[in-house]
């Protein structure tokens, strides 16, 4: 379907370098930190930005030089970009007006789409009176009524209230059964929930591409860091450990030993029990994320909600499922 071949682009502070990948029609998520150049990729695919080098193919055809108005890729930017000078109905109709589609056909399409996206009741409203979720549906409808070959979504849930995120994700999943979707985000939760194909882009480079498994098996240190893994150096090799695989236990009983350096060294190596000091924690309700000083490094670990802990506590540390990177 869509294929990027060595696409490069410098745009404002962003620099995209030799990005290549090929998509089938699965739900594709491009995941990366803010400022990684994800929007630049999507705007190159939409044709809004000219690439500096490389090629973009759709179904084998080179579309690199094709103007955006001839690509028929739906594009929904982060802020939805509804036309403020038109009501919802006219926003959705815009593309069909340009294509000179007759009113009856257009009306039918708009009504069907409005029903599908549950916005029939707001067709006469102006964009600025809509909630974030409504705006998003209108933007989706505006793109979808043109039967686009591809739907490009830029951080589709970042402007939405947390409470409606699950509904929105569910809707996006449904839409992806009609139209292939490329969805860019910095949010792991979205990528996990929606992504059938996931591309990880960091600093303008494609770092990994695959299914959800790439979360469990970071390909390199950069990806591991981005995914929140702890990086541990041991015996000249680097290991990545997920926060939930760092197991801690309170070590009150041996506090005195730790404070005494001699004994600590003795304890530390032979029987390979490791210790750390709690720096702080965040109580997320269902779990606690604890930050621990360990060998001059900072470790993150996840533990139970009920695990009572406070800054300055000494804890024993154990690692499970370490990954060589």
């Amino acid at each position: 379907m869509l294929k990027l071949e060595n696409v490069s682009k410098a745009w404002k502070e962003f620099q995209l370098r030799n990005v290549s990948f090929e998509l089938n029609d699965k739900y594709c998520v491009i995941l990366g930190p803010s400022g990684a150049g994800k929007s630049v990729i999507i705007q190159c695919i939409a044709g809004i930005l000219d690439v500096d080098g490389g090629n973009i193919y759709y179904d084998g055809e080179d579309i690199t030089e094709l103007k955006p108005e001839y690509r028929n890729f739906g594009y929904v930017p982060q802020n939805y970009a509804l036309f403020p000078n038109m009501n919802v109905y006219k926003n959705i109709k815009y593309g069909m007006t340009i294509r000179k589609i007759d009113k009856i056909t257009a009306d039918k399409k708009i009504n069907d789409m409005a029903e599908f996206l549950n916005i029939s009741h707001i067709l006469e409203r102006t964009p600025k009176t809509l909630s974030g979720g409504e705006q998003q549906r209108v933007a989706l409808a505006r793109a979808l009524v043109l039967d686009p070959k591809l739907l490009l979504l830029d951080e589709p849930t970042s402007a939405l209230d947390i409470h409606i995120k699950d509904t929105v994700m569910d809707e996006l999943k449904k839409i992806s059964e009609i139209t292939p979707i490329i969805h860019i985000t910095h949010d792991f939760v979205e990528a996990r929930t929606l992504g059938e194909n996931i591309a990880i882009v960091i600093d303008g480079e494609l770092n990994d591409f695959g299914t959800k498994d790439i979360f469990k098996n970071p390909k390199n240190e950069r990806v591991a860091k981005f995914l929140g893994y702890n990086i541990i150096s041991e015996n000249n090799s680097k290991l990545a450990v997920a926060p939930e695989n760092v197991k801690i236990e309170k070590a009150d009983m041996i506090t005195n030993n730790i404070n005494n350096n001699n004994n600590n060294n003795n304890l530390d190596n032979p029987i390979s029990t490791k210790y750390g000091i709690v720096n702080g924690y965040i109580d997320f309700g269902y779990y606690k994320s604890v930050s621990i000083s360990y060998n001059n490094d900072n470790l993150k670990c996840i533990c139970d909600e009920d695990f009572e802990i406070k800054s300055g506590d000494n804890v024993s540390v154990n690692f499970e499922n370490m990954i060589n990177i």
Binding site: A46, P68, Q78, N79, G95, I98
Partner: protein, 248 residues
């Protein structure tokens, strides 16, 4: 914030002073207008109003047609020398009005291009089009700055989305960008129109005839003194304020 009496006392005093300074001359004028009824049937006054309003309208139209595209380029593109070009556009605001007149006159009667234009039939001295040229010259910065401010506030993503929906650049400009900055275009037009309407100095030099109302007022003042120019001034004030109020 908590009300702080001495702070507000000082600030209010200064504000009231400047408000009185601006409004008292206006109020005095409107309360003692002189013989306005004679002025509004005076044929010369009517003729001058016609010239003024038409010329200002024409110059505003030209400013829209030629200024808005430049404003769009300023708002959407970065290029070397942009700052310089933007300052050039502001120059008409910095140059004394009589100098503007001298410059325009010198251009038409002292440069090859100017003489070519004159030979081609574009007369400006004591001509309606001379008035339009002067008004356009002094008014264009207002139009360009208003429109640029407007375009800068239009989210570029709107234009991007419009294109992905199948609209060409032209179509996008006329269906999306222009309608969104409607308010800026209106206020730019008002400012340009008002600037043109109010000009005297440059017009006195380039085109004393046909007389615009401000020129006529000057004329009457010089010939017959204050009292005979007051009624026309009042008419002009009312016209100016009405135009301002209607279009806002």
């Amino acid at each position: 914030m908590k009300i702080d009496k001495s702070f507000y006392a000082v600030f209010l005093s200064a504000s009231i002073f400047i408000l009185l300074f601006v409004s008292l001359p206006l109020i005095t004028m409107l309360l003692n207008p002189g013989d306005v009824s004679a002025a509004i049937v005076d044929k010369e006054v009517i003729k001058s109003l016609e010239v003024s309003l038409k010329a200002a309208g024409m110059s505003t139209l030209f400013a829209l047609i030629f200024g808005v595209p430049l404003a769009y380029i300023f708002a959407r593109n970065d290029f070397k020398g942009k700052g310089l070009i933007e300052s050039i556009i502001d120059i008409p605001m910095a140059i004394p009005h009589s100098v503007v007149g001298i410059m325009i006159l010198s251009f038409f009667y002292g440069s090859t291009i100017g003489e070519f234009l004159t030979d081609a039939g574009l007369k400006i001295v004591d001509n309606f089009w001379g008035i339009v040229a002067v008004m356009l010259y002094v008014g264009i910065p207002f139009m360009i700055n208003s429109a640029r401010d407007g375009f800068e506030m239009v989210d570029e993503e709107l234009e991007h989305v419009s294109r992905t929906l199948g609209a060409s650049r032209f179509k996008t400009f006329f269906s999306i960008s222009l309608p969104i900055i409607k308010n800026n275009l209106v206020s730019g037009s008002i400012l340009t129109y008002a600037r043109g309407l109010s000009e005297v100095g440059a017009i006195l030099i380039v085109a004393y005839f046909p007389k615009t109302t401000p020129v006529l007022i000057m004329d009457r003042f010089n010939q017959f003194g204050l009292s005979s120019s007051k009624p026309i001034s009042v008419v002009m004030i009312v016209v100016s304020i009405l135009l301002f109020t209607i279009f806002r």
